[in-house]
Symmetry: C2
Subunit: 416 residues, 2 copies
Amino acid sequence: MRVNKMSVRMRGFFERIRLSDALKIILSQVKQLGAELVPFPRSLDRVLAENVVSRVDIPPFDRSAVDGYAVRSYDTFGASQTSPKELCVVCAGKTGTESGLRVHKKQAVKLMTGAPMPEGADAVLMVEHAKTKKDNIAVLTSLTPGKNVSIQGEDVRKGEVVLKRCHRIRPQDVGMLASIGHLKVRVFRRPSVAIMATGSELRPPGTRLKPAQITDINSYSLAAGVASCGGVADRLGIVPDDPIAMRQALQKTLRYDVVLISGGSAVGEHDMAPDMVSELGKLIFHGVAMRPGGPTAFGVIKEKPIFCLAGFPVASLVAFDMLVRPALRAMQGLPADWSSLKVKAKLTRKIASSLGCAEVVRVRVWDDSGELLAEPIRVTGSGILSSMTRADGFVVVPENVEGFDKDQDVEVKLYG
Amino acid sequence: MRVNKMSVRMRGFFERIRLSDALKIILSQVKQLGAELVPFPRSLDRVLAENVVSRVDIPPFDRSAVDGYAVRSYDTFGASQTSPKELCVVCAGKTGTESGLRVHKKQAVKLMTGAPMPEGADAVLMVEHAKTKKDNIAVLTSLTPGKNVSIQGEDVRKGEVVLKRCHRIRPQDVGMLASIGHLKVRVFRRPSVAIMATGSELRPPGTRLKPAQITDINSYSLAAGVASCGGVADRLGIVPDDPIAMRQALQKTLRYDVVLISGGSAVGEHDMAPDMVSELGKLIFHGVAMRPGGPTAFGVIKEKPIFCLAGFPVASLVAFDMLVRPALRAMQGLPADWSSLKVKAKLTRKIASSLGCAEVVRVRVWDDSGELLAEPIRVTGSGILSSMTRADGFVVVPENVEGFDKDQDVEVKLYG
């Protein structure tokens, strides 16, 4: 039998690659993107491309952690509401900022939060625990040495790595960057993603469809998927099933980091996307042993990763979640796996699946008095987008498992 | 004793409100915001302020789900690779879009994905399962009625609610909006939040500090916190400890939905924020039985919620997470609780806590061969911002619990 090496169109998917192998290949082909500098107040959710090292001690000197009185803790031992101890306040006024201050025995110096600790003092009495009496204060509580004092470098030491490369920046991290004065942050670039919807039958949303016309859904859901994992998507519009138009459209994708071609990834007459990748670059796999999302192809053109995704909205988005999302995460320095959103739940119905093919089953998840339950959503085909809009997450049945039983505990990946 | 009703500054926090009560009060004071229309491609992560009802059936008519041949399934019964059945292809060419087509016994009509089903046909044979022979095809597989046919309305029925009010829009939901042609979406406005950092001692990040000067961290970390839960933050800058300056700054907050005042929420001499709220509106509580974050006040000025947060970076952000974040979520129509990011983990060390005060303990979380472990981060004070940057989440010890034991299973809320 003569096999046309260039195309699987005429022979169908004889050999489909395993999902796990497909992911491995993809991750071996994508590279971490370069870095860019952003002002720290705009760094939320970005991923660090550097180890952030502090050039300062935080606090920069021993200082008071409260508004109050610097004292020698020894002088407060035994003090209480009922048996206060008296101290003499020296140097009152807009206090605490003068240099060369010294607290002697039975003395106190008034200071504000952040004021450097005067010589001799080893604790700070909070305002609320002092009763003023002319130039004296009555100490209403006993202090241990170091109480209410922030020691130089106790939060951050000069030279310390405060935030690590590949960490995604959260609100407290923005605070840390402010604290150490790290005003510009080196973060990974966001991957730019070109999205082409192919198919002469496609019409923009809102169009009244004639027979054999289909609404372009995927370029919108995929663009939202890209945005949801930190990428920047550009929809390049609808490209007809025509090799010339497609080649032209691919020319426009040169400046992007990744290309997603929606539609034309199967083995029908008009499914020319994988062939096009093969012609202009290298087609690495075509067909994944996964349902939905099987008609997925991956290749590179001039080292740029190109994904050919199915035209069916569910197949397209499932393949996005399983294969494209990990790639976009890896390119930004994040773990490919989106693990923080996994939960264990008990199946309310059995899931049947065939050996040799990974099954991605959408589930509803709810809390039944403390126990998480997952209900597989019944579907009749991968065109049923409502199976995803009604779902809270999905369960993956690996290719070597024949499904899961009712009441079995399964791992559910939640949609963000 | 004469008690100054306007101020707790002179008396300290005699009565601190329980954390749960504080949250209840706040949620009773904030209102869901109004709605705005956004184009559906820009609706990702927004929260629906309407039930989205489809005005169309999806699919709009019975149509083929694949590229292939419309057939009468009865004619394929018993067909296989080894014993194919022959059918006569009628009306080949750019097929499937003609109206009035009919499939008779032993006939097939070629059609593309999305083409309406011809009269008489009840299944579609995929291209891969047909072998063409002049005007005939050999059917290589047996089809059940309905196979590869998308029935009108099977995904969405006209009049059906496809997405519910208060649902946060995900990529598949954007796809659904495209599918039903719901081009403009009614979503809740994002809450606008004014952030004032008060304190004459504050200096912008990157400033070399003199004694008693402190870097303004909070206005940045709070702004990031606001953004992380869908709000739009404006930093109004640093406001000195001066009633006139503060009143002026508060004037500028009229057009915002929420005001956060960082610093000046405790009971020191310069802590005037709660008094100011009291003067211009109504102070509802001052002091929460929570650590860190106790010095938190809440009130309303002309129905606008005002939060006074502690000056300490950790106290400020913890109070934000416990009290402000739920409010900002509720204003957008989301559940106040951010429950999808809870995990159960086993404590590696005991957590001590005092009765009567909720304790918010930052923890590191990791997976120890399938078991999640949570390690409380040792801290010496609420000034230690690195206790939050090193943390993956936090554990709340309620006020009626005296802490948790080593090896106890606890609920950890993960930072986003």
